[in-house]
């Protein structure tokens, strides 16, 4: 029966791209030479996190390359993925591990598990987001920690205590900026601080007060750090902010932008937000912010393409193409749209459920 399911899924792959080809041959072709990797978290407790791959040379979409290459499922609630030094690091939150995958072969090299372990005497786990800095990978853990992974040994070599339920993190000038979301605080009293952690000592040095519920963070080329806070989902709205890393203060809050996530490319930030007010007609908007003049320049999508529940964004550094995923109702397979730099749709493909991270791979 497993075989039957497998065959059915192969048929589905073939049908989804409306291209007829030999299924087995197609599977072997899915090496990450020139394409788009999409991490799809699946549905909580369904063990259905997947990595979809779209080959830009052949225009074929592969629903789950992790499964194809490793003969096992990735896990439950994979939350974030980064590529670093020819490896993929995948934070699989509810499976309580970080999976490290060789990008040449697609094979898993290691599962860095947090199960039944303590680090420096404390329970650490539920990895959420990842970042890299000078040969190390850093992961925020929902237990209130950041762990540092040695990329040679693939072991956790140090941990730092940060605030409650950290989410996004970024490293600039030897400091980690970690979003303390406080997502599990009692009575929905979210946190509103960033922890500043020294990457060498892994000690928290200070905190920066930001808008409530900080979640997504990235560094600009201009030395600033940019941040999205979700707000409290009630009377405090989400917001997009700029942080001066010299003074460690919020230098600007961009007014009037509904923000869920963003991506920086050169002098521009592409910030998207989801408008739930006309539910069930949910619609997402992608705004472009000029980081030099600090002015929002309007909607990115120009051709009338509608995205329901935008869930991830990535700008191809070479072509300036913008990839945006649509999680739809969060329980069916999502779609990924590719727009050219002028906001016109180039193509789209289907990914797995809740596509939360998009990575451009080019190993040619």
């Amino acid at each position: 029966m497993k075989k039957l399911v497998f065959k059915l899924s192969v048929v589905a792959i073939a049908m989804s791209v409306l291209v007829s080809c030999d299924p087995d041959k197609k599977k072997d072709n899915a090496l990450f030479n020139n394409g788009i990797l999409v991490l799809c978290e699946g549905v909580y407790q369904q063990n259905n996190s997947t990595i979809s791959y779209y080959d830009l040379d052949s225009d074929l979409a592969y629903p789950d390359v992790f499964y194809d290459k490793n003969n096992r499922y990735l896990g439950d609630n994979a939350n974030h993925m980064i590529a670093y030094g020819n490896k993929l690091y995948i934070a699989v939150d509810n499976s309580n591990l970080i999976d490290v995958v060789d990008m040449t072969t697609g094979k898993s090299l290691s599962q860095i598990s947090f199960n039944n372990k303590t680090f420096e005497g404390v329970t650490v786990g539920n990895p959420r987001q990842l970042t890299t800095y000078k040969g190390k990978v850093y992961a925020s853990c929902y237990t209130g920690h950041v762990v540092r992974i040695d990329t040679a040994s693939l072991n956790i070599d140090k941990i730092a205590k940060v605030g409650a339920n950290p989410e996004g993190l970024v490293a600039v000038n030897g400091k980690l900026y970690v979003c303390n979301s406080g997502g599990l605080n009692p009575d929905y009293q979210y946190d509103s601080t960033l922890s500043v952690v020294d990457v060498n000592t892994m000690q928290e040095e200070s905190r920066i007060t930001v808008c409530v519920n900080p979640a997504k963070i990235a560094a600009g080329d201009n030395g600033y750090v940019y941040l999205v806070s979700y707000g409290n989902y009630a009377d405090i709205a989400s917001c997009f902010q700029k942080i001066n890393t010299n003074t460690n203060t919020v230098e600007k809050v961009y007014e009037g932008i509904v923000a869920s996530n963003f991506c920086i490319s050169g002098n521009y930030a592409y910030v998207y937000g989801v408008d739930w007010s006309n539910y069930p007609d949910v619609q997402s908007f992608v705004k472009v912010v000029d980081l030099v003049s600090d002015v929002e320049t309007g909607d990115f999508i120009k051709d009338g393409t509608t995205i329901k529940t935008a869930y991830a964004i990535m700008v191809d550094p070479n072509t300036q193409d913008v990839y945006i995923s649509d999680a739809l109702n969060n329980a069916t397979n999502g779609d990924v749209y590719c727009f050219d730099k002028n906001g016109k749709k180039r193509f789209s493909f289907e990914a797995g459920i809740n596509p939360n991270t998009i990575i451009r791979v080019n190993q040619k």
């Binding site: 497998f6 369904q46 499976s95 009692p186 329980a331």
Partner: protein, 664 residues
């Protein structure tokens, strides 16, 4: 004993026919001064199914084990003894099935669903299920007219033999996964009119059964694991008080349930730890009084008070308080009055009124502390003549909600009619065709409306139109086949404003919306029969098949449009048989559930494999003077497959249980 049972059956068939039409000319056996010990079969209702627990499920422990053998029922079972078990009947959500215990509704105002895993099977005689209000009995509480489907649990009514005013029964069931279930029952005749029974049982299980964890892939790597955190410790005590005379009936019940359970959780890949706990306490008192006046007027009154407390503890919830400890309390006060006028020959009319008060509290900030008053008023009538009968009712429901925290008051009022007609198709055969229509709605539960940050106060009730047609034939075909019944039902359901949980604002925060639309077309077929194969062998058996096409028609733009809704197999069926021999009884049950999907999109990744579950059992009664020793052994899930009813909740594989009961 064998003769008694046969005669009893014939008697019942005759009774059924008599109840249906006075001048029925089925094979007549004249019976005089005949005492029948046991309950009567009331199989004259085409839309009603019934399972005799003592016949088929003598060694079972939970009501859920029985309920899943009704045709059209899909049990949503989270595995193990302690796991949540709710039912979906004919493709409808769990909130569309009402449950009543001895004619009085059980209710959970917090979720609107009854967990069948909590209900003990000790001292239960039989369970029946009614679809679409097709019952002929209209002498019932208004509230019982309000659901699309009703499951009725009937407690054993004490019976005493001459000169023996006290019955005692002590039993113990021992099962794999370190499960032990001692029970005690005492029944006493207090006077000519009064009798009482007290039943207590304790259930302990480690619930640490083995299962196979699958990691997928072409060669499907697997590992053998043990279920963690599946321990159960539950205590149930029920006191019943009965009064019976020619014109009065009274039944009082005090029910106490207390459980301290682990929550085994989904089997998450590479992370099998679980540390959540769930403590449940429920206590209720219910009284039911019936009086038959002169002039064919009957009156019934029900009073009930219910208190339930649930504590949910999660020690690995990574908040600043180092864990989660939520307490939920709910209370109910319930009063029902029913008045019936039954014309001696052909028609009946009843007026009933139910007043229900509920409230709920929770130790969470901003929980609005809701109070709800629900008033049900129902006018029902039934008429029958030789060739047809009709039953119709109109129910009015009035709901008044007040939140204590912010004093928001909401009203809702709705009429819901139902009609059911039955025709006899042939003069000498009990071949009937019935057709019914019912409009019902389910009120949003307190969680749906008020749960902090999840509830949506603008929710409307979820509505349902259902049309059902049933063809049924009952016959005593031959002395070798004294009872044969076949029934085929076709139905169509239209669910609108379905209350669904949808992620709002992000994946962490789901909210409730009246969003879904579901169309359900289905067919149930069942055959029940009794075969007297030889003097020493009688076989009772039942076969059920269900077809359900339940499709999501919410939005044509959606990837789930016209896809089968989750956890609803197109095809499912079950069979059960008991071979009563002179020496022992052999039980066999089979459950077949076809392929279905765990999520709304019907794609291979969401497909769940069909499963079979075969179980067998042997039981034997030893009569030692005035006492009775019953011994039974069951072997469950013979195929030893850890199939999943709910995704990532594997059930126990091959397991056994032993039941020893001593009665005197």
């Amino acid at each position: 004993m064998y003769k008694v049972k046969l005669a009893m059956l014939v008697c019942c068939v005759v009774c059924c026919c008599r109840a249906y039409a006075q001048d029925d000319s089925l094979t007549t056996h004249t019976l005089k001064n005949f005492t029948v010990y046991g309950t009567h079969l009331d199989f004259n209702v085409p839309g009603k199914q019934k399972i005799d627990v003592q016949d088929y499920f003598k060694n079972a422990m939970q009501v859920s084990e029985v309920v899943r053998f009704f045709s059209g029922v899909n049990m949503k079972d989270y595995g193990g003894i302690g796991g949540l078990k709710t039912v979906s009947v004919r493709g409808l959500g769990a909130n569309h099935t009402a449950v009543n215990l001895d004619g009085v509704a059980l209710n959970d105002c917090q979720t609107g669903q009854i967990d069948f895993g909590k209900l003990s099977l000790a001292n239960v005689d039989y369970i029946s299920m009614l679809n679409a209000n097709s019952e002929t009995d209209i002498f019932k509480s208004a509230r019982l007219f309000s659901a699309a489907n009703t499951l009725q649990v009937h407690t054993h009514v004490p019976q005493f033999r001459e000169g023996k005013p006290c019955n005692v029964s002590v039993g113990v069931k021992i099962a794999s996964a370190t499960t032990i279930n001692p029970s005690f029952l005492i029944e006493g005749r207090l006077s000519r009119m009064w009798s009482a029974s007290l039943c207590a049982e304790y259930l302990y299980s480690k619930g640490n059964y083995k299962y196979i964890m699958h990691y997928g892939g072409a060669d499907d790597s697997t590992s053998v694991e043990r279920r963690v955190n599946g321990d159960v410790s539950a205590f149930t005590a029920v006191l019943n008080l009965f009064y019976n005379d020619s014109s009065n009936r009274f039944h009082f019940k005090a029910y106490d349930y207390s459980a301290r359970n682990g929550l085994p959780g989904a089997t998450i890949l590479y992370n099998l730890e679980a540390s959540q706990r769930l403590n449940n306490d429920m206590f209720f008192l219910q009284g039911k009084y019936e009086h038959h006046f002169k002039h064919n007027i009957s009156y019934k009154c029900v009073l009930k008070a219910n208190y339930a407390h649930t504590e949910y503890i999660d020690t690995t919830f990574w908040n600043s308080e180092g864990g989660l400890d939520n307490h939920y309390q709910q209370r109910e006060l319930y009063l029902s009055n029913v008045l019936l006028y039954a014309h001696p020959k052909q028609w009946q009319i009843s007026l009933s009124n139910d007043v229900v008060y509920n409230n709920m509290s929770l130790n969470m900030k901003d929980f609005p502390l809701p109070h709800r008053l629900t008033v049900y008023t129902d006018l029902a009538t039934a008429y029958h003549c030789k060739w047809w009968r009709v039953q119709a009712n109109i129910l009015h429901t009035y709901v008044y909600d007040v939140t204590q925290l912010d004093d928001v008051r909401t009203h809702y009022s709705q009429w819901s009619p139902a009609v059911n007609m039955e025709f006899r198709l042939l003069p000498k055969e009990k071949l009937t065709f019935s057709v019914g229509y019912q409009y019902v709605f389910r009120l949003p539960s307190f969680n749906d409306l008020y749960y902090t940050n999840v509830g949506n106060r603008s929710l409307k009730p979820e509505t349902l139109h259902q049309v059902v047609g049933t063809l049924a034939w009952v016959k005593s075909i031959h002395l070798k086949l004294p009872y044969f019944r076949i029934a085929v039902s076709g139905y169509y359901h239209k669910v609108r404003d379905k209350i669904v949980a949808i992620p709002t604002r992000n994946l962490f925060l789901w909210g409730m919306y009246n969003y879904g639309k579901v169309n359900i077309a289905g067919l149930d077929a069942n055959v029940d029969m009794q075969v007297t194969a030889a003097r020493w062998l009688r076989i009772d058996m039942s076969l059920n098949y269900a077809y359900q096409r339940a499709v999501d028609v919410t939005s044509p733009d959606s990837k789930t449009y016209r896809h089968q809704i989750p956890y609803t197999p197109r095809h499912s069926g079950n069979a059960r048989a008991v071979f009563h021999t002179t020496w022992f009884a052999l039980h066999y049950t089979l459950q077949i559930v076809g392929g279905r999907y765990r999520l709304g999109q019907n794609i291979p990744q969401n497909y769940m494999q069909p499963y079979f579950d075969h179980s067998v059992g042997v039981s034997r009664d030893f009569h030692i003077k005035q006492t009775l020793l019953s011994v039974g052994v069951d072997v469950l899930n013979l195929a030893n497959k850890n199939y999943e009813i709910v995704a990532n909740f594997p059930v126990q594989g091959l397991s056994w249980r032993v039941n020893v009961t001593f009665k005197w």
